[in-house]
Assembly symmetry: C2
Homo-oligomer: 478 residues x 2
């Protein structure tokens, strides 16, 4: 590897040569990822303490950088790509996604306007229509109808986009202009993701105006309680405007009943957002689509291929049924962005579908993934993960030391030690400290509960089996 | 290249082999980028019409995908990495940045919490402290003092973050809780970027509560007019809360006088945000740091290495002087994210510095860039670009057909045809249609004005010279 003696850009020849070394580094990382302790064991400040206080004056060789990756960075990494990573939800990646994103980095285009790289916009629209077909989403979310999709960074940004469009629709687009003056009220279940609360604060509506609706014994939102709360709020002179339902909550993968909630929203004239960030991927296999029943009543929907669909972060697919509302909410057109294609109205300018102006060519990685695996390949892996989780749930159920904490509709199993919180917590700490696997937790019914989330690219039945053996082993000791 | 006959993940061996082909594809793209027409000539719908209506059922070979990249995607690309791209601001990339981002994709970690990958957080904090030193930023923006930096996707998100923190500070964090109830008023120059207006709408404050302050003959904000407007608004019972100044406006690269504006903000108790998205990079060379004079009066600051510092999009460095305000504004801690490191208070959790929850390992690409070039290498290229722009400005000035539209403090030259708007517009259309170069425009003093923005990775003096010859040639014809 060459070192830049005098200031110079890495030439294409150097890039190809050094790139081969980096490619090998990444391949080796994936070859060995199973061998590392899943959860990093460094102490706060340990990584920084090994980095030089000042930036280098002269350029260095990439050799030196790769050595530091091994020496300083890797020990500080928690291995999300380990097949023994069962924490949170997966953020799985894959070869085709990495290579698609490499092409995006290489092209380095800005897709803020159609005109600034037509292929960036058109491939995105096209692949999002493909995804709608793959998940069996209602036709109204496709670009052929009044709606359409956009790739955002995260479900948090999708939630915020939905809240903003709902806010504007409810206030006849006066909030954008004059600022918020009405007291709007939104609704989620008490199991919903914190991103909805965050969106409410960002949008100036306030977290106290988000009602947390009670759930049933499966942790799913109760539409009767939703309706009751809306009635109460209306009587108090408040203005209900937005409901978010979750398909696969973070805590327990609970499935809110979309059809009943959607019917309430229709009757009440509220924006209905559906967050299927993690679970949505399952709909690739038709037998799991019941969870989407009633989705045609929704105004917006999102799911993240960067969670369980082998597409490197960041890739959230955000769909709306009425793109005009979203665009009217987020569009601003200063002189320096005006161009003939935009004026013609014949094109999509995705800057109007998101908060940032700039955007990279993110559809490439999704396109690479869909083409590498094909629909059947993706179905295959979804089914493998769900089957492994179902089997794990049966193991837990059959074991006198443990108990299931909630149903297991897909690939997330929630369980705990029968001896109670202290035992469950100790078990979690010992397992995570062992480096053999990594589990995160939640509270369900007020109890400390472990989450076994099975969706890693490299996670096979044998890893789940080994994890279960370790859990049993430690569980018997506490 | 192999084709996935039955469903399977791309193995590390396949990844290394196919990756080599993709690496060569990217290298070839950079070898040839100068040969393509800079602005894509496809018509709306042309790219989509060549893509299959339905996703593939079976996996395909990556060979086929790379062929489609050449055949379908490339013609629809506007070549932001061409040395003849002079539109907007650059979104330049480079070998080390691409490779750093490849490592990020390969590791696939989520840096939402320190605990979910300590190295992701610590390298980011460290490199942002390096960047503060490299730009000569005030000490209070570093992690050693009360402030610190974070990498966001864009300056739009930085603006929004600043507006939100300002909103909360002004309302004693009651807006987050109860929703916005006061009428807040913000201030920018009439030349500021549209992202501030967008941030005001998102935050629920409304665009009519953003005052556009008049500018002087160099298009810089007039602090006297700012002060006058604040007085008027206070008399009207409104609540001034936020001022954003720009270092290098999008239209003409005007430099707002930070010190005078900052003094007004101090006297009035307003949050002072400084947006140096593009121009900030110039501060790497000490002779250009006068533009930052008074920055120690700012509450927040941002600049984008993804514009002019060879770091692939997305990479915005957002600094605050008082991190507690930002964190208090954006922090939410649900049970499933709780962990001992967070509770200890000894670590940074960057999810509290941004709107999304998830975040990729973006500091790697910035670290790779700084180490490859070194401070002196970056200074060298900044100086080259500024020198080329200064020379171009002299050429315009000396030519009877053209006139400069504004001063050229750094690397953006604004100019027009002396015959007026129609001539300037025709000239722009002909140049862009020729494929030889790409220029965008703005309005300055009500006149159609061309922007010659010189900051591409591969842009050298010879490209600027050739562009000037083409501009002269076409300029004489209209």
């Amino acid at each position: 590897m060459s070192s830049p003696a005098s200031p110079h850009h890495m030439t294409p020849d150097e890039f190809e040569q050094i790139g081969r070394d980096v490619m090998r580094w990444v391949a080796d990382y994936h070859r060995n990822v199973e061998k590392y302790p899943v959860l990093s064991t460094v102490r706060p400040g340990e990584v920084r303490s090994q980095l030089p206080d000042h930036p280098p004056l002269r350029g260095e060789s990439m050799d030196a950088v790769l050595k530091d990756l091994d020496r300083i960075i890797l020990p500080g990494v928690t291995h999300w790509q380990s097949p023994n990573f069962f924490a949170y939800f997966p953020a799985n990646t894959s070869g085709p996604a990495i290579l698609g994103d490499l092409v995006s980095s290489g092209l380095g285009v800005q897709g803020m306007l159609w005109a600034t790289s037509p292929a960036c916009t058109e491939l995105e629209t096209h692949v999002l229509d493909w995804m709608a077909e793959m998940l069996g989403l209602p036709e109204l979310f496709t670009s052929r109808s009044s709606g359409g999709g956009v790739i955002l960074d995260s479900a948090s940004s999708a939630s915020l986009g939905a809240i903003l469009a709902a806010r504007e629709r409810a206030t006849q687009f006066r909030s954008n202009e004059e600022g918020l003056s009405e007291r709007l009220v939104g609704y989620v279940s008490d199991q919903a993701h914190s991103s909805i609360e965050k969106g409410m604060t960002v949008a100036g509506i306030g977290r106290s105006n988000l009602r947390l609706i009670g759930t049933d014994d499966r942790y799913a939102m109760r539409p009767d309680l939703l309706e009751e709360q809306i009635r109460k709020d209306r009587s108090a002179g408040l203005r209900p405007f937005f409901v978010a339902a979750t398909v696969g909550t973070t805590s327990s993968h609970a499935m809110d009943p979309l059809r009943s909630i959607g019917e309430v929203c229709r009757r009440e004239g509220l924006w209905f957002h559906v967050d299927a960030a993690h679970a949505g991927t399952a709909a690739i296999a038709p037998e799991f689509r019941a969870m989407h029943d009633g989705l045609e009543l929704a105004d917006s929907y999102c799911f993240n291929p960067h969670k369980w669909m082998f597409t490197t972060f960041d890739c959230d697919c955000f769909y709306v049924a009425d793109r005009a509302s979203l665009i009217k909410t987020l569009s601003i057109l200063p002189e320096y962005l005006k161009n003939k294609a935009t004026e013609s109205g014949a094109v999509i300018d995705y800057r109007d579908w998101q908060i940032p102006l700039g955007r990279r060519f993110r559809s490439l990685k999704l396109w690479f993934v869909i083409r590498w695996y094909g629909v059947e390949g993706l179905q295959y892996f979804v089914r493998q993960h769900v089957a492994a989780a179902q089997e794990f749930a049966r193991w837990v159920e059959a074991d006198p030391v443990f108990e299931l904490a909630a149903p297991t509709p897909l690939n997330l199993v929630t369980f705990r030690h029968r001896k109670g919180d202290e035992a469950t917590r100790t078990l979690q700490e010992r397992l995570n400290a062992s480096g053999d696997l990594y589990l995160s937790h939640t509270l369900l019914g007020g109890k400390h509960t472990l989450r076994m989330s099975i969706g890693g690219t490299w996670t096979e039945r044998r890893h789940v089996e080994r994890a279960w053996r370790r859990i049993q082993e430690e569980g018997r000791k506490v």
